[in-house]
Amino acid sequence: MVKYSVVGHSVPQIDANEKARGVAEFVSDLQFPGMLYGKILRSPHPHARILHIDPSKARSLKGVKAIVTADDTPKIPFGPRTEDWNIFAVEKVRFIGDEVAAVAAIDEDTAEEALDLIRVEYEELPSVFDPIEAMQPGAPLIHDKERNIVSEFKLNKGDVDRAFQECDVVHSDRYYTNQVYQAYLEPMACVAHFEPTGKLTLYLATQIPSMTRVTYAKALGLPLEKIRVVVPYYGGAFGAKMETNLHLAAAVLSQKTGKPIRMVNSREEDFMAGNPRVPMYIDLKVGARKDGTLVGKEVRIIGGSGARAVYSMAIVATACYRVDSLYRFEHLRTEGLTVYTNTVPTSCFRGFGNAQMTFALESSLDMIAGDLNMDPAELRIRNGLKTGEVSIHGWQIGSSGLEECVRKAVEASGWEERRQEKRFARGVGLACCNHVSGNRAFSREFDGGAGIVRIGREGKVLVYHGESDMGQGQRTVFAQIVAEELGVALDRIEVAPVDTDISPFGLGSFATRGTVFGGNGVKAAAQDAKRQILEVAAEVFETIPSELEARGGKIYVKDEPKRNLSFEKVAEICLLRRGGSPVVGTGFWAPDTVLPDPVTKYGNVAPAYPFACQIAEVEVDTETGHVNVIQYTAAHDVGRAINPQTTEGQIHGGVTQGIGWALMEDMVVEKGKVLNPDFRDYVIPGPLDIPPIKSILVEPVDPNGPFGAKGIGEPALNPSPAAVANAIYHAIGVRFTELPITPEKILKALKERQK
């Protein structure tokens, strides 16, 4: 294996020092001269016609600077995928939390007081909250879409009916994956500033700065060049922080007042108007032969998009077909429906639909393995795609460490012994997953990543990228890649915050793509910078660039180690000889991913595909129904870990969220109202809910990833709910097909079994 000096080494995140000292400025910390504070008036009704808005009383409150409604906006319907968004409700409100108006005031208290003084007359309309009910004839229409169906996904391959007839075992089950909340610690936030020049600067917590800018330009009726997006530090996202009307409300208030406006969701608002996970009903039928070969899969999914489509249809589509590139299914019938309801719009949450489907599929496979009296681990290995295979949908598996993940997880967890010496109410469960690193089906316009590497006179390297670090350690990984390419120490590298005035157009941080795309982009830029440095150094040494090498912070003449110059010195010479120009390397990486065919879905959506196997061990308290996860093993094919420490950190966090989803997290919604919009009633895992997690890094070295790396963000969570559910089955013999598996459900099931 090639030895690298920075890549592949565990190093602390490059911004950890600032964060540890509390001096890193997060979006909700930003302050500007003259800044005002905004608050949104949200609909108290799930579905109602707006008859009249009277802001006059609120306007006269001391300290109120502006009140805006839809009438202050261009009323251009927009949206990241559909055009069913308005900045503020036009004519109708469609969920409790829908944006009706916004206030800017000298402080948050005044803004909130003003909200109470805005009089809105509503005429309530019939509403519908469950996607299956919303599809029935006569259900109230939320937008003008027949049966409230946002979109349909259909896919047939082979002859699934005949395949099932020839199977030795077929399992048909209904699963339900519930609506859960990303629960990042910093609520959604932004500062918007319409400057006197007519330029709007938005300081946003967003995973997709460049794409957000395009969407917002449309919504505000502004040319793209008038909008600048800057991404400061922000406190987690996990899929939720893409486009949000919060940002646009701030922009409209700033336009009206000419002042910078800071807006931060309260935690309650974040629950009621954020972007929680798309809930899904999944009817899944899977058939296998006696020897464990999986043959056919039939699935019908109904996903609830809430009151407007964010990315829900793409999420349902992903749930429909991504797992077909995990195992070798030959016969498929797939239907996915995305349906409007009068509830909070749902969207991306770590896993993007694949997490929902992985719960269903991996639970079904556990049952199939049981019926066949086969080791569930063996079943996965037998069917899992291997390096060099092309999946039924055309996905080219450049590297697959799936089998190694299964074998290593089995070994590290004591899987075989624990299955054999079955103890009362204790059990082990296994689940696998695949994922993508990048998703061509999502980024339809182009696929790629880009970077800029600027080297100043003093040899300081500043890296620009267009992705988004929400805390996962992306900046650090980019810095490591650039340091490796330039042959300098990590502390020479700084990574600039994303600023769309300067940074490349990055598609952003989603689809577990940051490391692969951003990483390859900054790598290409570093190579370009290095080429320039070596050209100038070659002049100094009176040789040609190919006779030079950069390592250890120096430029050497090959085979003559005494002839060398420090990197800093060469950077200075470059600048002095080139009229003061810093070295600016630019580069991009545009992989030949293939957009899926609209009908057959045949394509190749990502340049690299990560895999994983996780094993949970649980103990069920049969008196209380409480599930204690006592051991957890997570083996992940990450291609190559650029930074093993941050990669492990992603695994720990993903598994923890997965365990939370499996056992405790649930947005309780009654008549469209979220009943538990706080951390007292919506409980996320605390330090006692999670056992130490054994993480295992499997590194097959992918041909397309930077230094062989693939992504880790989403696969870290995907298999966890199924691993836990399968362990619970092993422990107490009860199969749960609905999330979360709460103590109440366990006690009820145990009681029923006793009867």
């Binding site: 950890a16 020092n17 540890a20 406190g235 951390f679 996320i684 605390g686 330090p687």
Partner: protein, 155 residues
């Protein structure tokens, strides 16, 4: 109506006049500009706003500023004097216990109070004592490892 308030924050004394309904969190962030103390929920449930009040960890969003009158407050900014990091800050950095960093200041202050009270902690005790501080990124493992690296051994 405003009331006089004297706060001793990180060893510095501040004389303020504030309305009775303002929280300690609000005063620290918006009057004193100490933005290292974060607001994650405003309801005492997440622990991001943890500060030390006479060496005891409190959710500063639940403490009225006037209740802290004349008392000693330590915020994250007070831990790293003269450019030197507190050992807990060093440990959090080197163990990879920081991801997004929003829970970090509160987490470090809770850990400090814990270690000051009892330097001989088992892992289980560390976990038990951090239940008031939520973290959504790390799964707590590296946080627990960071704190464990500083406990004293009883032998």
């Amino acid at each position: 109506m405003k009331y006089p308030l004297q706060l001793n924050v990180n060893g510095e004394v501040f004389e303020l006049e504030i309305p009775a309904n303002r929280t300690l969190l609000d005063v620290l962030r918006n009057e004193l500009g100490l933005k290292g103390t974060k607001e994650g929920c405003g309801a005492g449930e997440c622990g991001a706003c943890t500060v030390l009040l006479d060496d005891e960890p409190v959710n500063s969003c639940l403490v009225l500023a006037l209740q802290a009158d004349g008392r000693r407050i330590t915020t994250i900014e007070g831990l790293s004097g003269a450019g030197k990091l507190h050992p807990l800050q060093e440990a959090f950095i080197h163990h990879g216990a920081i991801q997004c960093g929003f829970c970090t200041p509160g987490m470090i202050l809770s850990a400090k109070a814990l270690l000051d009270r009892n330097p001989y902690l088992e892992e289980r005790e560390i976990r038990e004592n951090l239940v008031g501080n939520l973290c959504r990124c790390t799964g707590y493992q590296k946080i627990v490892e960071a704190i464990s690296s500083l406990v004293k051994r009883k032998d």
